[in-house]
Structure formats: structure tokens, C-alpha cells
Amino acid sequence: MTKENSQPGEARASGASVADTLATDSRGAPPPLLQQQYQFLGDSDIPCSRYTSQAFADLETERLWGRCWQWACREEHIPDVGDNYVYNIGPYSVIVVRSAQDGIRAFVNSCTHRGTRLLGAEGVGFSPRITCPFHGWSWSVEGRLESLPARWDFPHVGDDSHDLQAVKCETWGGFVFINLDPDALPLAEYLDVMPQHFQHYPLERRRVRLHVQKILPANWKAAQEAFMEAYHNFETHDAPNGANAQYDIFGSYVSRFIHNIGNYSAESLADYPGNKWRDPPLTENQLLQSLSVFGLEQEEVPAGETARSVAAEDLRRLIGKALGVDLSSVSDTLMLDSIEYHLFPNMFFFPGITVPMAYRFRPNGDDIDSSIFDLMVLEPLPEGAEHPEPPEPFKLSVEQSYTEVEALSWLAPVYDEDTGNLDLQQQGLKASRKPGITLGNYQEARIRRVHLTLDEFLKE
């Protein structure tokens, strides 16, 4: 039934692996996608209280969100000097500002006089000088205190003692990252293999086509974990493929899955309930039909070809034409597959062309039972083209459906399915008599990796 092995974590579903599929694709994949790097990380249960306890969430606020790298916005959110972006994480708030044509700075969003939050709402803004709305102290975009009304009353304020409080800020892949810990390790170290891998699929040459921000009714970790494995595909999405997905662990901060689209192995479902997609298995033509949501023109798979090769070729032409980019040499896997890199603690980057997203999951203020899910669709930008102004986020409440965002197209029902289990899970975690959740050794290893690294952060 399955490829059994005595060592935990070595068993795999039967049928063609991702490596097998990539080896038979019509166009070769870039080297990082051929790499396999799984590690067995243990099989003990993860305590439910990590998702439900206020004390645990408080510790995360102090030691995780106050210390980890996290993206605040895209560089194109702040193209001109004076443009700013306010990013909130739990109780913290950070102002990211374009301080010079080639300079970006970040500051704690708090007045150095009496602590007032300087800029109110999250998102884009413009302030050539940052002025406190309480007493009118104001700072340059470099964070220098420039105006202090009634200076005579503050002889104890030095020339630079009350500049804005600087926050570490670096960029990668067109994203602006911040870190509230003044002693944080450099972003480049934290990114591990990502810069090397993404040379082959640069995210700085993407534009934000769509940004959707939804409140989800679960702890931020439960919410993101719904997106870290393809094991749920069969039950949640009523889809045949997922069991053969590949999972990689690259160090403490980065993990990945590669989930092939447009093929599957009937054998991989050997011990799944019923005969669905097993007896009889889907034909290549049926597989192609299942991809019709992509707006393919081809309806049949010619002899000697596969649904994957036909769909990839169709999409190279259709998407290339629609976006004005040359996709003629892009591999089948980048064209089709769901390739998902996770960066600790809460960020996801998809280098694919048809599945081209970035995600971020964070606590919703101080509510441990809900989270904010930012979803961006990042389209390739034609060579030489400048980044257009990114669209404002669509904001969806817990009750609203992704189908209200028309531009999400075929993705909308998929996200509704993905997020539809979260309220049940969060409530179930609270009700459970069993003290912990159990994870699969291979398919759910990325989830365990995040918890292990989280433990490192939560130490004194």
C-alpha cells in the first residue's frame, strides 16, 4: 500500500513523487525545485494550549512578535519620499517610511513626548514630516526631532535624545521587513536559502494584483497551519491530488512544499475511504478538464502528451499574452504547481505563475481566537515596467465569503474551503480532553518545524 520503512518519517504515499513528476515534465525545473531536504523532527503531540492560552499568547507577543523578522509592506507601497506604511502586530505599531529615493526607515509608531501613536490607521499614508496630533512635536522622515513647540519648557530634551525610536528594517524580494529587536540577526541570515532559491523566480519583479485581508476565527498558528500541508486536499477540497506532495525543511526558519497540479497517482489514495479516483482512475482528459478553471483553450490531451504538459503550454501562452511577459521557457512546475515557501513565523511566498501568492497570518490585536490573514496575488511584471501603485486591500469579516472578491476568480471557493474548518478547529482545541494535537511525520513536518523554532524564541 505504501512505501513502508522502519525509520519514522521515511514512509511515503505510493505513486509518482514530485521528483518523478518533475523529471518527466516537458520543461526542466530550476535546480532549487529539484532539491529534496526532509528531516524527521519528532512525533510527540503539540499541546492544544499553544493555540488557546492567554499566557502563551502573551509570551508570543513579548518574545516572538517583539523579536522576529516580518514583512510590513511591499516597496511599491511607498514609492516617493514621504510615503509611509503603518504596520500593526499585536500591541505594536511600526511606521515604515521612504526617507530617500533609495532609503527606507522604520520607527516605533509612538511619540517620544508622551507616547501617542503618531499615525492612526494601518496602511499607506503620506507625511513629508511626521507630526504628533497631541502637542505637535514633529520629526523628519529620517526620524530627527525637528519641531518642539515651547522648547523653553524642555531644557532636559537633548538635540537627539527624542528622535523617533528606530526599528530594524531591510528589504528582500520587493518586501519591506521590520524587526522590533534592536539586536536581531541580519535579515539575510534569517532568510537562509530563500535568496539563493528565489534568484530563479525573483519576487521583486512582481506586482500586487490583488490584496485581500480577512479575519479568521482561529489562533494565527491554527490559521496558517491550514495552509502548510496538502494532506487536507482529499477531504476539504474534494480533490484527488495531495498525497504525493513533497515537503522540505531548510533550517530553522524556512520550509517548503511542492504540490503538483494536473496529475495524481491513484495508488496514493490506496487507504482513503471509498473508490473515488481510484477505481476507475481519472484519465488525462478528465484531469485536463479539472484544470478548466484556469481558462484553458485546449480541451483534449493529444496522444503522447499529459494534462500537465498541455495545460502548462496553454498557460505559458495565455498568461504571457495577458501580462505582456515572455513565459516561453518557464518550467511546467513553475507554471502549474502550488510551490509554497514558508518563512518563520508567519509568511508564505509562492514562486509559481498560475499560483502566485504571498500570505501573512498574524494575531488580530490581543484576541487569541482570531487572526488576520493577508493574501496578495503577485503577478509577474513585464521587463522594464515600473511597479504600479498597489491596490487597497479588500477587507472581509469572519462571516464574509471570498467569493465577494470577484477578482479572486477560481481561488475564492478554494479559500472558503480552506478557512471553513477554522472555527470548528479553534473551538475543538478548547474542548479537547486529549491535551495535544498529533501530526503526520512527513506531511505535517513543516507545522512541527514552526513550533520548534517558536520554542527557541520563547526561551528567556
Binding site: D80, G82, D83, N84, L118, L119, G120, A121, V124, G125, F126, S127, P128, R129, I130, T131, C132, P133, E389, P391, E392
Partner: protein, 106 residues
């Protein structure tokens, strides 16, 4: 001119999409904003500390105040973020050929 009466304030050639322009109507500064949804007119002064919004920036459907970063929806003048709480007045706009016509509200 009186309230409710349309008068020509600018030509469309002065207001490309994505741009804003300060004009005077009956001694009052009005900000024209050309967004993806069309041309809109609002008061030029922020309802919080009376900074001139023409020195701020139009982003999408929002005008951003240069002083404290307050945002207003230019389509109806609604205040979208603190420190502004009160809306700014919004005025009727109609296009007559290449001319932008504005009638003051209140």
C-alpha cells in the same frame, strides 16, 4: 456664485487620472481628485487641523493629509482615519465636454 450653481473650475487636460488639483470656487479652496472612479471635489482643508490637502497625496480613492496622516474618501468626504473624525465637505461635479464643473454643497 451661489450654493448649488455649477461653474467651470478647470479643464480635464489639467487633471490626469491619479492627480489632484486645488482650485478656488467662490473664494473657497476646493480639491479636485481624478480617481479610477471619476472626478470628485472636496474641501481642500483637513477637518482636523486645517492643513491643505493639496500638499498631501491622492492614493486610490483616498486623500492623505500631509500633517498628521488623516485619510478621507474623496468620493464622499468621509473621514477614514484618525486624527480626523469629522468629514470634509464634498461637492457636486459634472463634466461638460473637456470642462470640469463644480457646484458647492454646503
Amino acid at each position: 456664485m451661489s450654493i448649488g450653481e455649477f461653474s467651470r473650475v478647470a479643464g480635464m487636460d489639467e487633471l490626469p487620472r491619479g492627480a489632484s488639483l486645488c482650485v478656488e470656487v467662490g473664494g473657497r479652496e476646493i480639491l479636485l481628485c481624478h480617481t479610477a472612479d471619476g472626478v470628485f471635489a472636496v474641501d481642500n482643508l483637513c477637518s482636523h487641523a486645517q492643513a491643505r490637502l493639496c500638499e498631501g497625496k491622492l492614493k486610490g480613492q483616498k486623500i492623505l493629509c500631509p500633517l498628521h496622516g488623516a485619510a478621507f474618501d474623496v468620493r464622499d468626504g468621509r473621514a477614514l482615519s484618525r486624527p480626523a473624525i469629522r468629514p470634509i465637505a464634498s461637492h457636486k461635479v459634472k463634466l461638460d465636454g473637456e470642462s470640469i464643473m463644480v457646484a458647492l454643497g454646503d
